[in-house]
Amino acid sequence: MTRDNISVIRLRGILLVTVPPEPDDETVSSFQEKVLDVMASNEPRGLVLDISTVQTLDSFFARTLMETVQMAALMGTPTVIAGMRPDVAITATLLGLSFGKTLTARDMDSAFDLIVEKTAEDLSR
């Protein structure tokens, strides 16, 4: 799998990236690069990382996801991690993974709402 297989959709100024289900380490790394590249050229108001197809979230993959969220924050873009499956959520918690203050949502709809809310807050400041 290469970075061309990573789907990125732009919808109402928000970038929606589908995280591949069973990526090898190389794909995980190129996923991060691709997200940052696309953000630089699109200047989106938000980023949604859809992990609804991810079956195995180990500490390596989780760390890359968290790094990506931090990098997006440095570039001024709020990010929401969306669609974590229940078994993955339980496993991540038992594993001891911490997602800190990362915004999370059950599905795409709520993820979009969160970003709209977040951007409105920033504008009103």
Binding site: D25, S59, A62, D87, I90, L94, G96
Partner: protein, 136 residues
């Protein structure tokens, strides 16, 4: 590359991590483990296979099933001839890592599974055995 029960599956390159993980998933599903358990087993396996790759370079994984009266246990063994772990108690502490990882691999795997045993000799290598039981 296929994985046979009770036989060593080699971990030699980075691509083997995903491959080994996929095979563990198939075996667990075949033996009737539920989604929750399968996700736990595969995630623990992923951590331990990565430990082999990162710390020892190469090693092997072995899958076995134990029948114990009313229950079936999936037992995964990860062995390498790497540098070994000088202080196992310390290595089991959450957040402790000599590598660049988050240090969740061993402690996290123990929480995900029903049992985790480590044998390690410095300079000789490390063997980690994990077990998940399923009621019949």
């Amino acid at each position: 590359m296929t994985l046979r029960l009770n036989e060593d599956f080699p971990i030699n390159e980075e691509g083997d991590i995903v491959l080994a993980r996929r095979l563990v998933r198939e075996f667990a599903l075949q033996r009737g483990f539920g989604t929750m358990d399968v996700t736990r087993i595969v995630t623990a396996a992923s951590e331990l296979i990565r430990n082999i790759y990162v710390y020892a370079g190469t090693g092997v994984m072995r899958v076995a099933f134990n029948e114990d009266g009313a229950r079936t246990g999936m037992e995964l063994t990860f062995s390498d001839q790497g540098p070994g772990i000088p202080d196992i108690a310390k290595a089991m502490e959450p957040g402790y890592s000599t590598g660049k990882s988050m240090g969740m691999g061993l402690s996290g795997s123990k929480r995900l599974m029903d049992d985790l045993t480590i044998r390690s000799v410095v300079g000789k290598g490390t063997t980690v055995i994990i077990i998940k039981w399923r009621s019949k």
